[in-house]
Subunit: 469 residues, 2 copies
C-alpha cells in the first residue's frame, strides 16, 4: 500500500494490487480507476504530475505515464493543454461482489413439472460430453445452424418416431432451448405470417400463455372437461392455431380420446390451421403404454413440441419441435435472430446420449420409481384428504387435487410455502376463473416422505379453511 | 419379416422389428403405424380381425388386441360398432432419416468474427464440466433464474472489472445465450418501456441490425469516420438509445477517442438515453493494453454486452450483459419468457473456468498467435494488394480492406466462395450504401497459410475487376 500527498493537487490513497496481479502499470491504472469510481477522485481534480507520482510511489516515470495514457484513452482522465492531468468523469462505488441466490428451495417440494434431479444421470451425461469434446471437429464449435446440429435432429427423429409415435424427418426437426423458447418461436412465425389468434386450453400452463402473449398473439380460451380440450368449441372460434396438451392435459391430466384427436386433426385440415402439440411429460405413463403423438396423424398440420425438462432436467434447456414440411426453415430463421442457435456441445452430447440408448435406460429406470410415488401420493390423499378428488394420475409427474368449494387457494399456497411446502395452485392456470385446486408434483419427493408430506399439507389446508370459515 | 393376406380385408405387409427392439405388441404397433403412414394402409381400410392377424403372424391374440387398442387410442384405428377395426386417418411417407448438414466449410476461411476453434481449450472446459457434474447440488439442475446462476454472475463481474474496466455488481449481470440474444433482450425491454428508436453505427454488424428490427425498433444510422461513431450527430437525432462498438468499431476497426467517449456519456446523461456497448473482441489488442469499457465511465447509462464467442467459441452460446441498477430484473423477466434461462451446466462450468483463471490463460496464449497472424496478413496485403488500405488492425480478429472504387464487391465475395475462400463483404454492414470493401478475419487461418491465401484472394479480385472493366 502506498500513500501520497502532493501540495499542489489532491491527496491520493492508491492501493496497488500485489506484484503477482500483473504489470505494475496495470495495477496503477486499476488503483486510479477505483479511486475515480469510488468518488475519492472527483471530476475536475488535478492529478500529481507523472514525475511526482512516480517519485512518491517509488515507480519509474514511464509506468505512471503509461497508466495515465491508458486512462486518458478510456475517458477517465483528461490532459489539459498546459500539461496537467485531471479527472474527467466519475462514477459511484459498487458493492461487494456477491450475487443474489437464484433458486428457491422447500423442505417438501410438491412443485409440479419437476423430475427427480437427484436421479439425473450425471455419469452418462459426462460421458457424452467427453465423447463430444474428444471427437468433434473444431469447426463444429463455431456459429450454428438455427435448426440445430444434424446429429441431434436425426437422433431425435428416430427417438420420437419410436417412443412417441411421431412421423418425422430430421429436416423438419428444430432444436430449441427448452419448450418455452420453442413455443415462442412458433408464436413469432405465426405473427410473421399474419396470424394473430391462437386457442389454448382453459386451464393451461400460465407460462405458455405468457410466452404467446409476449409474441403479440391473442389467446382464445377453449374449455377443458374430463376428456381434455372440448374440440367442438374450436369450430365456433376464429383461430389460426391451437396449443394442446392432448396426451396429458396440463394441469387436469385428462387424456384426449380418439374421437377428439381425429376431430382436432379434422378441424386443422378444414380450417388450414395449426395444432401445436405440447408433449411435455408423456414418456411417463403408468397403467398402459404412452399415447402416441397426434403429430403422427397429420404431420402437415401439427407442430410437435417436446423437451428434456421432464425426462432429464430443466437445467439442460434442451427442447425440440417437429414441424410440417417447410416450416423448419422459417423457425430456424427466427431462432437464429433470437440466439443464433442452441449451444453446440450440449446438442452434440444429447445426440450421443440418445444414440447410446441412455435416455431409454433412464426412462426405464425412472418409470417404476415415479409410479410408486404416484401410488403413495394417491394412497396418502385417500387417507388424509379423502374429500379431494385427484385427477390425471395415469401419467406424468403430477396430480390435480380439487379443493372444497370456497377454499382460499392462494392462502393455502402461501401458508404452505411458509411451512416449507412448495406447490402450485390450479387457478393460476385458469383463464376463466375456476374452482380452487392444487397441482401436486411427485417428481421431487421421495416415496417414503409422501405420506407425512400430505399429512402436513392437509394440516395447512385445515388451518386455512378453519380461519376463513 | 411376416407377410399376411386375408381374404376379407386388405393385404398387410407388416415388417416387425427384431426381438431385441422391445415388446412384441410395441413392434406390431410400429409396423401398423408405418403401414398407415406410408399409405399402404389407407383411411377406411378394414383390418383383419385380431384373431386372424394373430394367427397369421404367429402371435398371441392378446398381443394384437393390445396393439389395436393402442392405435385406437392414438387415433390411427377406429373400432366400428360391428366390431371391425378400420384405418382412421393416413399420413404421407417420410424419407430416410438423415439431416442436412449445418455448417459451411471453406478451404481458406477469412470469415470474420471467428476465433481459432482448433485452439479451444477442450481439456480445461471438460475439467470444468466434470467439476460441475461432480459437485453441483441436484436442485441446481432445475428451473433457472432468468438472470443466470450467481456463480457466473459473480465470476464475470470480477473478470470484467479487472480485464475490461467495467464497474459492475453481480446483481447487475444478466447471462444470455450469446450476444445476439442479449441484444434482443435489451431491444425488447426498450420496446416494453415505450422506446422505439435506437441509433446504430453506419456501417455496423448486419445481424445486430436484424435483431433490433425484429424487436420492433426503428434503426437510426449514425455515420462512422476514422475515429468511430460521429457522436455529435447523435445530438441532432431523436433516439432513446445507441448501440456502439466503441473499443473496436465493427467493421472499420476504429477506436473511439477519449473526447468522443466522454461526449457519448454526456449525451446519454442529458438525453436520459442508454448506451449499449457491444464489446465483442477487445480482449485482443496488440499494440497496447485494451481500452477499458465505456460502462466504467457511467454504469447508470451503459448496458455493457459481451460474449464468449470471440474469446472461446461461438458454439458455446454464452453471453452477458452488465446493466444499470434495476434493469437486470427487467431483462431477467424478458429472458425467462424467451427461454427460461441459459443452460445450467454451461453457466456453472464457465464460472468454474473463469475462477480457475483458464480464460486469462487462454487469452495470454492466443494474443501472440493472433498478433503474428495479423502481422502476416498486413504484410501479405502490402505485398499482393498494395492499393488496399487496411484499417482497424490494432485489435480484434479482422481487418477491413477497402477495394478500389467501382469494384463489384458482391462478385468478389461470390467468386471467392466458389474458389473455396470464405470472407465477408463490407457493404452488407452499410445502411447508407458505402464503398466496396472486404472484412478479412484472421482468427481461423494459420500464419503460414496467410500469404498464399491473400495471393489467391488477389487473383479473385483481379479476375472480377478484369471482367467488369
Amino acid at each position: 500500500m502506498a500513500r501520497s500527498r502532493t501540495s499542489s493537487t489532491i491527496p491520493l490513497h492508491l492501493v496497488l494490487a500485489p506484484d503477482g496481479a500483473g504489470p505494475v502499470h496495470r495495477r496503477l491504472e486499476q488503483a486510479l480507476r477505483d479511486a475515480i469510481r469510488s468518488g475519492r477522485l472527483t471530476p475536475g481534480s488535478v492529478l500529481p504530475s507523472s514525475r511526482a507520482l512516480a517519485g512518491e510511489l517509488g515507480l519509474s516515470r514511464g509506468v505512471v505515464v503509461e497508466a495515465f495514457e491508458q486512462l486518458v484513452a478510456e475517458g477517465y482522465l483528461v490532459t489539459r493543454p498546459g500539461g496537467a492531468t485531471t479527472v474527467a468523469a466519475g462514477s459511484t462505488a459498487t458493492g461487494a461482489r456477491v450475487a443474489r441466490p437464484d433458486v428457491r428451495l422447500f423442505e417438501i417440494d410438491f412443485r409440479p413439472g419437476r423430475p427427480d434431479l437427484a436421479e439425473f444421470p450425471r455419469r452418462a451425461w459426462l460421458r457424452s460430453i467427453r465423447e463430444v469434446l474428444e471427437v468433434t471437429p473444431s469447426e463444429r464449435l463455431g456459429y450454428l445452424d438455427g435448426r440445430g446440429v444434424p446429429e441431434l435432429r436425426s437422433a431425435l427423429s428416430s427417438y420420437l418416431d419410436r417412443a412417441r409415435g411421431t412421423a418425422s424427418h430430421p429436416d423438419d426437426v428444430v432444436i430449441s432451448s427448452g419448450f418455452a423458447q420453442g413455443l415462442g418461436l412458433v408464436g413469432r412465425v405465426l405473427v410473421d405470417r399474419g396470424r394473430r389468434r391462437i386457442a389454448v386450453e382453459d386451464p393451461s400452463l400460465d407460462d405458455s400463455q405468457a410466452v404467446l402473449r409476449a409474441e403479440g398473439l391473442t389467446i382464445v380460451p377453449i374449455p377443458v372437461d374430463a376428456d381434455g380440450l372440448v374440440v367442438e368449441r374450436l369450430q365456433t372460434t376464429d383461430v389460426d392455431a391451437v396449443l394442446v396438451t392432448s396426451a396429458h392435459q396440463y394441469p387436469t391430466g385428462a387424456v384426449l380420446p380418439p374421437e377428439r384427436r381425429l376431430a382436432l386433426v379434422d378441424w386443422a385440415r378444414r380450417r388450414e390451421g395449426l395444432i401445436v402439440e405440447d408433449d411435455y411429460d408423456t414418456e411417463f405413463r403408468y397403467d398402459r403404454a404412452p399415447i402416441g403423438a397426434i403429430q403422427g396423424l397429420d404431420p402437415d398440420r401439427v407442430i410437435y413440441a417436446g423437451s428434456a425438462s421432464k425426462v432429464l432436467a430443466p437445467g439442460l434447456r434442451l427442447g425440440w419441435l417437429v414441424t410440417p414440411s417447410g416450416l423448419a426453415d422459417e423457425l430456424a430463421r427466427v431462432k437464429t435472430v433470437a440466439d443464433q442457435g442452441s449451444p453446440a456441445i450440449d446438442q452434440l452430447a444429447f445426440a450421443d446420449f440418445l444414440e447410446r440408448g441412455e435416455l431409454d435406460r433412464h426412462l426405464r429406470r425412472m418409470r417404476p420409481v415415479y409410479r410408486r410415488r404416484r401410488d403413495a401420493l394417491l394412497a396418502a390423499l385417500a387417507r388424509h384428504l379423502p374429500e379431494a378428488r385427484p385427477t390425471g394420475a395415469s401419467a406424468g409427474l403430477h396430480v390435480l387435487v380439487w379443493l372444497p368449494p370456497g377454499t382460499d387457494e392462494a392462502a393455502v399456497v402461501e401458508t404452505a410455502e411458509r411451512a416449507g411446502i412448495g406447490l402450485s395452485g390450479a387457478s393460476r392456470h385458469a383463464i376463466t376463473p375456476g374452482p380452487p385446486g392444487l397441482v401436486l408434483g411427485y417428481g421431487q419427493i421421495r416415496e417414503s416422505a409422501i405420506d407425512d408430506a400430505v399429512r402436513r399439507l392437509t394440516a395447512v389446508i385445515d388451518e386455512v379453511r378453519g380461519s376463513t370459515r
